[in-house]
C-alpha cells in the first residue's frame, strides 16, 4: 500500500478517473453516464442541487454501492471497489456527512478501530495506541486529546476526528461530503490548512459543498452534477458563482405554467415571528394567508423542516410567537398544533406519516379518531368505512378497498392517504414537507393538483420542497432559507431558479455576495 507512486510516464494520468458511471434505484436514475477525473494534487469541488447524485457518486467510491455501469481507474489502473474496507485499502478515504464514530469510545480508539495496537495477541496496548494517535495529531497540527471520549467532543472536534481517521489510512484520495456544515470560521480555517497539508503531488481531494465562497478558496476545479449527469467542469479561477449556479440549475423554466397571481385577502391565517431554536433557527418570521401556497426553498440543512417542526411543537422553541387568525396561540406539541388547526405532513412519510401495517381507512381517520368514537369508547367502524371510501374517491387513491394495508400502496397513493388524514382533521393551515419525495412523475401531477385545489378551497398552505421547479410552479410566494435564517421572501413573479439559489447560498460567514 505504501509503495511509491508510479513515476514518469504515468505522471500525466489522472489520479482517479471515472468513465460512464451509471447507477439507478427503483424510480430514479441517480447517476447517468457520469465521467469525471481527479487530477494529481488537486482539490476538485463537486457541486449540485439536492438529489443531483453527489452522495450516490460518493457511496460508489466508498464501496457502499456497486455501479450498474462504468469504469473506475486509480492511477490509470482499472479497479473494482468491493466494499468499504477495500476502498480504504485502495487508498480512498471518505468522510461522510453523517458521522461514523463510536461515541462511547475515546478519540484514539475510534481512529484505530479494527487496527488496534496489541500488546500480546488478545490484549490491547492502550498506551502505545494513544501515543500513535498523539503523533498523528501532532503531524496534522490538531489539538485533540486521544483519551477523550468522542461523545464529549463538540461537533467540530468530532469532524476533526473523522478527518484524522481518514488521513491515518495514508489515503491517496480523500473525499469530503459537506465537511464544513458544522464548523465555524476558525474551524474552517483549520480544516483548509489540513487539506493544504494533505495535498501532495500523489494525492487528491474531492470536496463536496454547497458553499460557493469555500469553493473559490479551496478548489482548483469545479465539477457540476445535475440530475445525475456531469453538466460541466470549470477551472475555479476562470469561473464565477453565477456561472456555477446556472450550471447547477440548468433547466429552462419557461415551459412551466406559473400560478396566476391570486388576490390574497388581508388578514393572515398563520403568522410566525422571531422563531428561533437552540440548534439552528434564527429569528424566522413570515405569514401565510388563506388560499395561498407559501413555498419554502433552501438547501439541505437550511432549516426548512426545522421551521415546520418548531411551529407544530415537535421541537422545542427558544423564542418566537405563533398567531392563528391574529390570536397568539401556545403550541407545545403536534397534538396542540392540530387542535389549533395546523397540520404537518412530514417529509419522512414512512416513519412519521403513515402506519404502514394498518389499513387505508384506519390511517385516514387516525388523527380524527375521537370523532368516530362513541361516548363509551367504542369505535364506529361503519362510519370509518364511509369516510375512508369518501376520501378514496375524492383524492382518487388507487386501492382495491379501504381495508387495504397502506404498505401495499404506491408512494404517491401513500402520500394521498397522509393528505386525506389531515383533510379529515379539517385544518386551516397545512404544512407539506417534501410532498412529492419518492413519488413518480404522474402521481406528482396529481399531488400538485390536490395542493392547488386545497388552496382554492381557502386553506393556507406551506410547501417545503428541495426541487426548485416544483416550488416555482406551485407557490404564490417563496421563502428562502440559508443556515437557519430567512434570506428572502419573494413573490412568484420575481423568483427565478437563479435568484432562489443565490439566496439559498447566502451564508452569514460570507456577508453579502458581490
Amino acid at each position: 500500500m505504501t509503495d511509491s507512486a508510479p513515476s514518469g510516464d504515468v505522471a500525466g494520468t489522472p489520479l482517479l478517473d471515472l468513465t460512464g458511471v451509471s447507477k439507478g434505484f427503483p424510480g430514479v436514475q441517480a447517476l447517468d453516464d457520469v465521467s469525471l477525473e481527479l487530477r494529481r494534487g488537486e482539490v476538485l469541488a463537486l457541486v449540485g442541487e439536492n438529489g443531483a447524485g453527489k452522495s450516490t457518486l460518493m457511496k460508489l467510491l466508498a464501496g457502499i454501492y456497486t455501479p450498474d455501469a462504468g469504469v473506475f481507474r486509480l492511477n490509470g489502473e482499472e479497479i473494482t471497489i468491493e466494499g468499504p474496507k477495500h476502498a480504504q485499502e485502495l487508498g480512498i478515504s471518505i468522510i461522510h456527512q453523517e458521522f461514523n464514530l463510536m461515541p462511547d469510545l475515546t478519540v484514539a480508539q475510534n481512529i484505530y478501530i479494527g487496527r488496534e495496537q496489541r500488546a500480546a495477541g488478545f490484549f490491547l496496548d492502550e498506551r502505545s495506541l494513544n501515543r500513535r494517535a498523539r503523533k498523528l495529531f501532532e503531524g496534522l497540527g490538531l489539538a485533540l486529546d486521544p483519551t477523550e471520549r468522542v461523545e464529549n467532543l463538540t461537533v467540530a472536534k468530532q469532524q476533526m476526528v473523522e478527518i484524522a481517521k481518514a488521513l491515518s489510512f495514508e489515503a491517496k484520495v480523500l473525499i469530503m461530503d459537506e465537511p464544513t456544515a458544522a464548523l465555524n470560521d476558525a474551524e474552517v480555517d483549520v480544516l483548509f490548512e489540513l487539506i493544504g497539508r494533505f495535498r501532495r503531488p500523489e494525492t487528491g481531494v474531492v470536496y463536496i459543498s454547497h458553499r460557493m465562497e469555500e469553493l473559490t478558496r479551496i478548489s482548483d476545479r469545479i465539477t457540476v452534477l445535475r440530475d445525475g449527469r456531469n453538466v460541466g467542469t470549470r477551472v475555479t479561477a476562470e469561473t464565477d458563482q453565477r456561472e456555477v449556479i446556472s450550471l447547477m440549475v440548468g433547466r429552462e423554466i419557461s415551459g412551466e405554467q406559473r400560478p396566476a397571481a391570486r388576490p390574497i385577502d388581508g388578514a393572515p391565517v398563520l403568522s410566525v415571528e422571531h422563531l428561533s431554536t437552540r440548534s439552528l433557527l434564527r429569528d424566522v418570521g413570515f405569514e401565510v394567508h388563506a388560499g395561498e401556497i407559501l413555498g419554502f426553498a433552501g438547501l439541505m440543512g437550511a432549516g426548512r423542516t426545522e421551521v415546520a417542526r418548531a411551529i407544530v411543537g415537535a421541537d422545542p422553541r427558544e423564542s418566537g410567537e405563533i398567531r392563528m387568525h391574529g390570536k397568539a396561540v401556545s403550541i407545545g406539541n403536534p397534538a396542540e398544533a392540530s387542535r389549533h388547526g395546523i397540520g404537518y405532513l412530514s417529509e419522512d412519510r414512512k416513519h412519521l406519516g403513515v402506519l404502514l401495517e394498518r389499513s387505508v381507512r384506519e390511517n385516514i381517520v387516525l388523527s380524527a379518531l375521537r370523532d368516530y368514537t362513541s361516548a363509551l369508547g367504542f369505535v364506529n367502524d361503519a362510519r370509518i368505512e364511509a369516510t375512508g371510501r369518501d376520501y378514496i374517491e375524492r383524492l382518487r387513491i388507487k386501492t382495491p378497498s379501504s381495508a387495504q394495508l397502506v404498505q401495499n400502496l404506491s408512494g404517491g397513493n401513500q402520500q394521498k392517504v397522509v393528505i386525506a388524514k389531515w383533510l379529515a382533521k379539517d385544518c386551516d393551515v397545512l404544512i407539506f414537507d417534501e410532498p412529492t419525495r419518492g413519488i413518480d412523475v404522474g402521481a406528482k401531477e396529481e399531488i400538485y393538483a390536490l395542493l392547488k385545489g386545497l388552496a382554492e378551497q381557502g386553506k393556507a398552505i406551506i410547501m417545503i420542497s428541495s426541487e426548485l421547479p416544483e416550488v416555482l410552479r406551485l407557490s404564490d410566494r417563496i421563502a428562502v432559507m440559508a443556515e437557519g435564517r430567512l434570506t428572502a421572501i419573494l413573490d412568484n413573479a420575481d423568483a427565478t431558479q437563479e435568484n432562489l439559489m443565490d439566496y439559498a447560498t447566502r451564508f452569514s460567514s460570507e456577508g453579502t455576495i458581490a
Binding site: 458521522f99 463510536m102 479494527g114 488496534e116 489539538a143 483519551t147
Partner: protein, 345 residues
C-alpha cells in the same frame, strides 16, 4: 501469552487520562468527572443501604452475614458478569436463567450418569454453557434473529431440555461427593468463607480485564456504540457478536456448576426469572440497555445491592412479598437517575 498487570477494577480509566486532560483546554472536563460520579453514586447507595441495615439490626453487619450476602450474590453475579458483555453490545440474553439450570443438569449427566471424573465433568459443563451461547450467537448474528427473540426461544428450549434429560427428578452427585465443595468448601480458617465466593471474585477480575484490556472488550463497546460504523471500519461484527454470546454462555456454564454444587444436586426446575435478576443487577450498575456503556464494577455493585436488600429486608423481618417490591423500586430509581444523568450530558 504474557499476563498483564491486573489492576483492581475500581476504575476503567488509566491514570494518564487525567494527566493529559490538563493539556487540552477545550475538553469539557466535567463530562468525564460525571462518568465516574455515576459509579460513585451506585457505590454510595450500596454503602448507604449497608449502613441503614446495620443500624436497623445488630445481626446484619456480622462477618457471617456479610459472607452469606456474598454467597447469595455469587450465582446471580456470575450470570450478570457474562450478561454485561451482551448488554453493552446492545443485545440481551434471556436464556441465562434456564440455561444455567440445564448446565446444572448436564453436570449431573456428566458426573453421575456418565461417571466422568470431577474435573472433566466441570469443564464439560462450562463448555456446554459456551455451546448454548454459541447457538444464541449464531442465531442472532448469522440468522439475524433479534436477540430478545433468539434468547427467549433458547430460554424455553433450555427449560424443557432440563426436564426431559433429568426425567423431571433432581440428580444427586453420588459418584463425586467432592462436587459440592466447589461452592461450599470453606477456604479461610475461622470464618465460613466458601470457595464459590472466591471463584466469583476471580471471575470479576477476569471479566473486568476482558472488558477493559482486550480487543474483545473494545469491540464489545464499539458494537454497542455504533454497530454500522464498527462494521464500516472493517471489524468483523458478526464474528465478534458470536464470540461475545459464547463468552456469556461460558459464564452461564460456570454459574450452573456453582448453583448445583451449592445444592449438592442438579435441580431441573426453576431458573425462570433468574435472568431478569441478573439483568437487573447489570442495569442498576449503570450499563445501558441501548448499548455502548457499562462496566464490570457497576455490575458487581448492582448484584451486591440486590443481595444486600434481600438479605437486609429479611433480617429486619420484612415479609418476602415486600422484598420483591423493594427491588423493583430500586431498579426504577436507579435507571431513572441514570437517564437524568444522560439527558443532562
Amino acid at each position: 501469552m504474557t499476563s498483564p498487570t491486573v489492576t483492581p477494577p475500581t476504575s476503567d480509566r488509566s491514570p494518564s487520562t487525567t494527566a493529559f486532560a490538563a493539556i487540552d483546554k477545550g475538553t469539557p472536563r466535567f463530562a468525564r468527572l460525571r462518568g465516574s460520579l455515576q459509579q460513585l453514586l451506585a457505590f454510595a447507595s450500596l454503602i448507604l443501604i449497608v449502613v441503614v441495615f446495620s443500624i436497623a439490626s445488630p445481626h446484619f453487619f456480622t462477618a457471617n452475614n456479610l459472607v452469606s450476602i456474598l454467597t447469595a450474590a455469587t450465582v446471580t453475579g456470575v450470570l450478570a458478569l457474562g450478561t454485561t458483555f451482551v448488554i453493552i453490545t446492545g443485545g440481551i440474553d434471556l436464556s441465562i436463567g434456564t440455561g444455567m439450570v440445564l448446565c446444572g443438569v448436564m453436570a449431573g449427566v456428566f458426573l453421575t450418569y456418565l461417571g466422568w471424573p470431577l474435573w472433566a465433568g466441570v469443564a464439560a459443563t462450562i463448555l456446554f454453557g459456551g455451546l448454548i451461547g454459541l447457538i444464541n450467537g449464531v442465531n442472532i448474528s448469522v440468522l439475524g434473529i433479534p436477540p430478545f427473540i433468539a434468547t427467549l426461544g433458547m430460554m424455553l428450549i433450555a427449560a424443557g431440555l432440563s426436564l426431559v434429560i433429568s426425567g423431571t427428578k433432581p440428580i444427586y452427585f453420588n459418584e463425586t461427593p467432592e462436587f459440592q465443595s466447589i461452592m461450599n468448601l470453606s477456604i479461610i480458617p475461622g470464618i465460613r468463607f466458601p470457595m464459590g465466593v472466591a471463584i466469583f471474585i476471580v471471575m470479576i477480575v477476569v471479566a473486568a480485564v476482558l472488558l477493559s484490556k482486550t480487543i474483545l472488550g473494545r469491540y464489545t463497546f464499539s458494537i454497542g456504540s455504533n454497530e454500522a460504523a464498527t462494521a464500516l471500519s472493517g471489524v468483523n461484527v458478526r464474528r465478534w457478536k458470536i464470540v461475545i454470546y459464547t463468552l456469556a454462555g461460558l459464564f452461564v456454564g460456570l454459574a450452573g456448576v456453582l448453583s448445583a454444587s451449592r445444592l449438592s444436586s442438579a435441580q431441573p426446575t426453576g431458573g425462570m426469572g433468574l435472568e431478569l435478576e441478573a439483568i437487573a443487577a447489570v442495569v442498576i450498575g449503570g450499563t445501558s440497555l441501548q448499548g455502548g456503556k457499562g462496566s464490570i464494577v457497576g455490575t458487581v455493585i448492582g448484584a451486591l445491592i440486590m443481595a444486600v436488600l434481600t438479605n437486609g429486608l429479611r433480617i429486619i423481618s420484612v415479609p418476602q412479598e415486600w422484598q420483591s417490591v423493594a427491588v423493583g423500586i430500586v431498579i426504577l430509581v436507579a435507571v431513572y437517575l441514570d437517564m437524568l444523568r444522560r439527558r443532562r450530558a
